[in-house]
């Protein structure tokens, strides 16, 4: 799993590639938490290269969304989510809590 981030004027772009499972989910969580510690609550997660995500990873996304939306200070937008990962989000009942935009550039521009 690789995770990178880039700061834009109005949001942060976090790109996750590879697998997010119980081994790698903590690293994803730490990256997102450190963004929030610096007051960055408007986050686009680019899932273009995300090959696999287990429920451990889905909960990291959900917990980050809960924190970002608190006090209306921001939100997490998911970009370029593969159909099979969208299906997992749907199965878990998480789709209503995320804006999902196909194009990461468009997602960044939406903030």
């Amino acid at each position: 799993m690789e995770i990178s981030q880039k700061q834009y004027k109005h949001c942060s772009l976090v790109k996750i590639t590879g697998r997010v499972d119980s081994l790698t989910a903590p690293a994803v969580s730490e990256t997102l938490k450190s963004l929030m510690e610096f007051g960055k609550y408007k986050i686009v997660i680019d899932c273009t290269g995300l090959e696999f995500i287990s429920s451990a990873g889905l909960w990291v996304l959900v917990n980050t969304q809960k924190a970002c939306k608190r006090y209306n200070r921001g939100e997490v937008i998911l970009a370029a989510v593969a159909d099979r990962i969208r299906a997992s989000l749907d199965l878990a009942g998480f789709i209503p809590y995320f804006k999902i935009i196909d194009d990461p550039t468009e997602a960044v521009g939406s903030f």
């Binding site: 697998r19 499972d21 119980s22 081994l23 429920s55 909960w59 959900v62 809960k66 159909d83 099979r84």
Partner: protein, 139 residues
């Protein structure tokens, strides 16, 4: 049959084994992903709950091609897991009322066509999961 130390690091290897077996059994890419996810959730549960942590036992994974799909049998020697003791999650409940976790068993039942837990002689659990080929893909 392949034996793995029950660690999170080995989840990727176990997943690769079952994904490869799923493709070789003629399952679609989407069904192979479902198999991979169900097995990953099952093995995570074994590590977290049956053994109570990483590196405390082994996971044995057997894949068998069936005429109409794939059978996977996962063995562990940890505490026997009784699925009837687990309440399924309410996925329609508001997020702020949902406890974290508890999706593993639910995913397994939703993604696979059969999920059967049997106690092993002595201790541990034998978990059998079957995924049948989607009708549109059957030859």
């Amino acid at each position: 049959m392949t034996l793995y130390s029950a660690t999170y690091e080995n989840l990727a290897k176990i997943d690769l084994q079952v994904r490869t077996a799923a493709i070789e059994a003629g399952l679609s890419d989407d069904d192979a992903y479902s198999v991979e996810l169900a097995v990953d959730e099952a093995c995570t549960n074994i590590i977290d709950h049956s053994y109570g942590g990483e590196g405390l036992g082994e996971i044995d994974c057997v894949c068998q091609t069936l005429a109409d799909g794939l059978k996977i049998i996962i063995y562990d020697t940890g505490c026997f897991f009784n699925p009837e003791e687990i309440q399924p999650p309410d996925v329609h409940q508001p997020l702020n009322k949902r406890p974290e976790g508890g999706l593993g068993l639910f995913f397994m039942h939703s993604l696979m066509d059969e999920v059967v837990f049997d106690p092993c002689k002595g201790n541990g659990t034998s978990l059998t999961m079957i995924k049948r080929k989607s009708l549109s893909k059957r030859g």
